[in-house]
């Protein structure tokens, strides 16, 4: 039982990170239906940015503790958000009126480009965050040791989810974002500046990805130029599992994926963990073809 609970918290910790990346993913995905292969690499970019700030600019001496971590996250948020906006301009906007799979391939090119750019800039060896800004304390709950950082990470994912949900579903701009997602022409007809909305989406989504990158760097320490591939894929799966464009769904999908992986590890051959996770996922989608929380569909014939 204790082991089960321990594994559950392990899974929730990993899932929390998947969820964090998936939230940014689903923003872009929900609006443009773009399978943004580059999202994982923007996440990596955030992680490297945090690394550079800490290591190169001597920030490690100046900042410390949670405030420092917060500052770092904020800087990644802004910088990666701007990169996201530029990426949209360069790689996706020209393809806006074409088949959506074309944009997928462009995104794939962007992903390869970013990944190799980071390899050339930072070298192929893993980099390690020079200082630990996050507290190492932990507490016991029902016989399970829970590090404080996990709680922090988890609650920031949760907070972000609520914030995003509120933003998308309860604000005027959020409604405009959803309208753009459905029919850009009709959105223009009601006076929405479609370009601005899409830029905004590409500011928020990548910014969240970049922030997640810094958090992963702070939490795990080690970062590599190709880590975006795995995390990006997991985030994509989480977003789909929850239901396309569904923000609580992305969160739920991420958490579930993390938990399935942990339980797969615990009660299944470890080497088969990912196969197990995919199997569960496929079964879930067979039973619920539009994801766990479902996608809003209006199939009127």
């Amino acid at each position: 039982m204790e082991e089960f609970l321990q594994q559950l918290t392990n899974g929730l910790a990993v899932g929390g990170i998947y969820a964090l990346i998936a939230l940014g993913y689903t923003m872009v995905y929900g609006v443009l239906r773009l399978i943004n292969f580059a999202h994982g690499d923007l996440f990596t970019l955030g992680a490297y940015l945090g690394f550079t700030l800490l290591a190169s600019f001597g920030l490690s001496g100046v900042i410390g503790g949670l405030a420092g971590a917060g500052l770092l996250v904020l800087m990644a948020l802004i910088f990666v958000g701007l990169v996201g906006v530029m990426l949209e301009r360069a790689a996706y906007r020209p393809l806006r009126n074409s088949d959506r799979l074309s944009a997928v391939v462009s995104a794939l090119g962007a992903s390869i480009f970013l990944q190799n750019a980071m390899m050339l800039l930072y070298g192929a060896r893993p980099q390690v965050y020079p200082v630990r800004l996050l507290p190492t304390a932990s507490f016991m709950l029902m016989g399970v040791e829970i590090p404080f950082t996990r709680v922090l990470l988890f609650s920031s994912s949760l907070a972000l989810m609520f914030l995003l949900f509120w933003f998308i579903n309860r604000t005027r701009v959020g409604a405009a974002i959803r309208a753009v997602a459905i029919d850009q022409g009709a959105a223009k007809l009601v006076g929405i500046d479609v370009n601005r909305i899409i830029s905004l989406v590409f500011l928020i989504g990548p910014a969240l990805g970049g922030a997640a990158g810094v958090m992963v760097g702070l939490y795990y320490g080690q970062i590599t130029h190709d880590m975006g591939l795995n995390y990006g894929l997991k985030a994509f799966i989480a977003a789909i599992l929850g239901g396309i464009g569904n923000i609580p769904g992305a969160m739920l999908g991420g958490l579930l994926l993390g938990v399935i992986e942990a339980l797969g590890t615990a009660y299944f051959a470890v080497g088969w963990k990912d196969a197990f996770a995919f199997l569960v996922l496929i079964l879930i989608l067979i039973v619920r073809p539009t994801g766990l929380l479902g996608e809003r569909v209006a199939d009127k014939i």
């Binding site: 409604a175 959803r178 459905i182 009709a186 959105a187 223009k188 007809l189 479609v194 209006a298």
Partner: protein, 249 residues
């Protein structure tokens, strides 16, 4: 072709001058001239593919003319992006309705007021729309995409009205509506027009449109071939043959 001079007394409000619009390499409008005066109902008639929708989409800025200009109260519209055109007070209920299918009826209507600053007025406007179309109020939380065809048409018109337009563009508003509602919609257009709103109406139901409108234009393959007051057009034998199904009564 007799080009009778309009007896418009007001200054031109909305002017399409020498307008050419193309889809790719195919020109759909060849030098169109249309003038709309403030407070008028102007109808644009024409067979399928004549270029009516193209004209309205150009006014709304979704299509860019290759030549000519669109002036609204002296200001060039054809260089403005669509959302600014809406801010200037020109909204449209487009062909094919184009409601936001996966959003609720209420959200669709609220988006209609996207450019409006004053929330109270928008709320009042919403109340008025619900009075016009009680069905929309009944279905306020239903996803727009699951509405019946006619219900969606009401929503599209309602959404355009939510922008509190000075010029309302209606592309075949009676399409798919039950007869009782067609009458009602046309009466409503008249009533709205009386409050000072200018209306450009594209209709297949030419007879009803001409009964309603002050003036009309007839388009044929991208050209204006006739332009006259509505009663004159209604009486015009060419129009009767081509668009009114001959002497039917």
């Amino acid at each position: 072709m007799s080009n009778s001079i309009t007896e418009a007394t007001a200054t031109p409000y909305l002017t399409l001058r020498d307008l050419r619009v193309s889809y790719g390499s195919v020109e759909a409008l060849h030098s169109i001239n249309i003038t709309v005066n403030q407070g008028e109902i102007v109808t644009i008639l024409g067979a399928n593919g004549a270029g009516k929708t193209t004209t309205l989409m150009s006014i709304s800025g979704l299509l860019r003319p290759t030549h000519g200009e669109i002036l609204f109260q002296g200001e060039a519209l054809h260089t403005l992006p669509p959302h600014v055109i809406v801010q200037r007070g020109i909204t449209q209920s487009p062909e094919g309705r184009r409601v936001f299918g996966t959003m609720s009826v209420l959200e669709n209507l609220q988006l209609g007021a996207y450019t409006r600053k004053n929330a109270d007025e928008a709320a009042k406007n919403l109340q008025w729309i619900f009075e016009l179309f009680p069905r929309l109020e009944e279905r306020a939380s239903q996803l727009a995409g699951t509405l019946s065809g006619g219900e969606q048409q009401m929503l599209a018109i309602g959404r355009a009205l939510m922008g509190c337009p000075r010029v309302l563009l209606l592309d075949e508003p009676s399409l798919g509506l039950a007869p009782i509602l067609v009458q009602f919609i046309f009466d409503t257009i008249k009533a709205i027009n009386k409050t000072g709103m200018t209306v450009i109406l594209v209709e297949q139901n030419a007879r009803a449109a001409l009964k309603l409108a002050d003036r009309g234009y007839v388009l044929e393959v991208g050209k204006v071939v006739l332009e006259d007051t509505a009663p004159n057009l209604l009486a015009n034998p060419e129009v009767q043959n081509a668009y009114l199904g001959g002497q039917r009564d």
